[in-house]
Subunit: 412 residues, 2 copies
Amino acid sequence: TLCLSRVWSMYNQLTYYCKRIRKELDNTVDFWLKYSHDTTHGGFFTCIGRDGKVYDELKYVWLQGRQVWMYCRLYRTMERFHKPEILEAAKAGGAFLRKFARVSGGSGGPWKCAFCLTRDGKALKVQRTVFSECFYIMAMDELSRVTGDKDMQLEAEQMMEQVIYWVRVDSSSLGRPQLPGEVPTNSMAVPMMLLCLVQQLTEGRGQEAAQKYGDLASWCVQQILQHIQRDGTAILENVSLEGAELPGCQGRLQNPGHALEAGWFLLQVSGEQQDEELQRTAINKFVELPYQDGWDKEHGGLFYFLDVDGHCPTQLEWNMKLWWPHCEALIAFLMAYNQTKKPQLLERFSQVYEYTFSHFPDAKSGEWFGYLTQEGKVALDFKGGPFKGKNIIAIHEISHNFPLDALKAYAG
Amino acid sequence: TLCLSRVWSMYNQLTYYCKRIRKELDNTVDFWLKYSHDTTHGGFFTCIGRDGKVYDELKYVWLQGRQVWMYCRLYRTMERFHKPEILEAAKAGGAFLRKFARVSGGSGGPWKCAFCLTRDGKALKVQRTVFSECFYIMAMDELSRVTGDKDMQLEAEQMMEQVIYWVRVDSSSLGRPQLPGEVPTNSMAVPMMLLCLVQQLTEGRGQEAAQKYGDLASWCVQQILQHIQRDGTAILENVSLEGAELPGCQGRLQNPGHALEAGWFLLQVSGEQQDEELQRTAINKFVELPYQDGWDKEHGGLFYFLDVDGHCPTQLEWNMKLWWPHCEALIAFLMAYNQTKKPQLLERFSQVYEYTFSHFPDAKSGEWFGYLTQEGKVALDFKGGPFKGKNIIAIHEISHNFPLDALKAYAG
C-alpha cells in the first residue's frame, strides 16, 4: 500500500498530466478543424505539412474514416466538443466517404473501399486487405449514433458482414491470389481490428447486439491470445492459423505498439466481462512484456519493429520511434491501472508520458510529429500523411481513462 | 589543363582506389560463394546476416537473378573469376530460377515471375510489376552467353517480348485493376530497366540484335529524358506519359540514386552512338544535378528520396543513406570522366568514394552494410535482405570503368 504523501504527489503529477493532455486535445482538434477541411469537394485533406499547409490533395480513406469517427466521438461524449461545427464537419466527411469510398470489386464481386482517393473522390488505390472497410464501418456506425440515421447503422453492419466473410470464410474476392508457398497466417492486426469493431458496434446497444457479435468477439480474443509465444515470453506479430510460430523473419517479427494496442483492447473485454484471468494475461503479456522488450534502453521510446531472436528486422524503419505506439502504451498502462490500481502501472505510464510529451508535440505549430529517429530527432515533420492522422484518437482515449477520480478518492 | 604533378598525384590516388576496389570485389565474391549457396535445394539464400548466417530461408527472385548474372559476368569478363566453381554456381542458380521462378498468371494469362520463393521453390509472393521478369531475363541471357545454350537465350528473348508488351501495349494482365483516379505514369524505373535489358541483349551481337531492339532503345532514352523537369533544373521520378509534371508528392518525388543510375545508362548509349548531345545531357542533368541536389551537405552521403519543393517526403526511409545510390554515383562519375576526361568529374568520384568506402564496407565480417542513418550510423546490419544482394554488381562496373590506363597515358 502507498503512503499518503506518495499518493498526493502522484495525484499532483497526474493533475498536471491531465491538464496537459486536455490542452493537447484542444490544440489538436483546432489544428484539424482549421487546416484539413476541403470545403470545395468535401472530405478532409490528409497530407498536411508541419505548419498546416496541404502538401498533397490525395485523401487517404483510413484517415477520412478516423476523422469522421473522432469528430462524432468527441461530439457525443465530451461536452466541450458538443458543438455544431464539429457535427457538421463529421457529417460532411461522412457524406464524402459514403459517396466515394466504395468501389466495385469487379465481375460481380463485393464492394471494396478504396485506400486512397483523389481530391474529388476518384479511387486511386485499392488494397487487397480489409482495413479501409474497417475504418469505413467505424465512421458510419459512430456517425449514425450522433445523427440517429438507422440506414447508416445498417450500412455499417452490412459492411461488417462482408469483412467477417473475408476474414473468417473466404478471402478470395479481396483479389489476392493464393500461392503455393504461402502459409495461411494469423496477423495480429486482423483480430485486433475486428475486436475493436465489435466494441464499436455493440457499445450501449444491450444484450441483442452483444449476442449478435458474441461469437466473433470470443474468436478475436482467442486469435489474439495465439500470439503469445515462446512459453509466454514473447508476443509475435504473425503466427500460423493453429497458433504455432512461423519460420523466418515473418514469424519472429515483433511490433510492440501493436501488442500494446491489443493489450488495451483485451482489457476492455476483461473489464466488461469481469474476467480476471484475461485481465492478468492482457497486462502481463500484452502490456508489460512488449513494453519491456520494445523500450529502447539507450535512447528511450518504443521501437517500431523488433526480431524476437535479436536479428536485425528487414523493415528499414524498424528503429524509428512513431507517435502511435506511444499513444497505445499510454492508454494501455492507464487502463491497466484503472482496473487493478497497482501503482507500478502508473509509474510506467509516467515513464512513457515523459518520453512522449517531450518528443512528439510540436510547440511551434501545434499537433504532433509522427516519426522520430532512434535518437529522438524529428525525421519526418508533417502532421498528416498517408498513415498519420489526428493523434487525438489516442488522446481522447487517454482522457477517458484518466484515473484522477479514482486517485482522488484513494487520497481522500 | 592539368599540371603534370597534379596528374601524378591523381594517378597515385586512383591507383590506391583501384587496388581497394579490387580487394573489395574479391572479398565480396568470397562472402557470397561461402555463405549463400543452398546445396540442398539449389538457388541462393538471399537473407544473410552480418556474419554470414542465413536469418531467413526465403529466396528473393530479383536477387537470384542478379547473382546468376553477376557470376556469369565475372566468369566471362574478368580473368581471375574464370573459375569452374563460379560457373557451376551460376548454372545451379540458373536451373533453380528456370525451374521455380515462373508462375502461371492464371486464367490463361501469361507467365509471371514470382517476387519471392520458399527455400524449395514454391511461389510466395508475386508483384504486379515487371521487375522480377527483368532480372530473370538478365540472368538467362548472361548465362546463355557462358554456356552457349541457345534455348536459354531464346527464352530470355521471349520473356523480353512479354515485358515489352506489358510496358508498351497493355499492362492489364499484370493484374493491377485500372482505377478511375489513376493517372498513367512514366516511372523512371521502367524505361531505365528496359534500357539496361536492351544493352544486355544486344551486347556483342552485332547489327541484327541492335536493329531488333533499336526502336525500344530510342523509346527508353526518350522516356528517361522526359524526367528532366522544371526548365532543366530537376530530375523527377514520376512524370505523365506526355512528360508533364504530376501533382502532389508523387510528382515532386526525387530519387537521386535512380537519376544517377539512369545517367550512366544514358552514357552507355551516348558512348556507343557517339552522341555528344546525349552525353552532355546525361552528365549535366542525370549525373551532376542529382549529385548536387541529393548530397547531404551536413552529414555527407546521398539521400534516398527528396521532394523537389523541399517538403518532407512521406517515405519513412527518405533520409537514410543506402549503399546502391553511392555505387551508381561512383560508376556514373567514372564513366563520365572516361568519356570527357574532365578532371572535376574525377574529383566528384573521389568525394563519393571517400564517403562510400569509409561508411559501407564491414571491416569485421566482409561485404557491405546496406542501410545507414542520415548521420552515417549502420541502421540495418545484414548483408543480404529482400532488396539487398551482392554489391559487387556495382563494383564490377566500377572496375570496368576504371580510367587508370587513360590517366597513365595522359601522365605519360
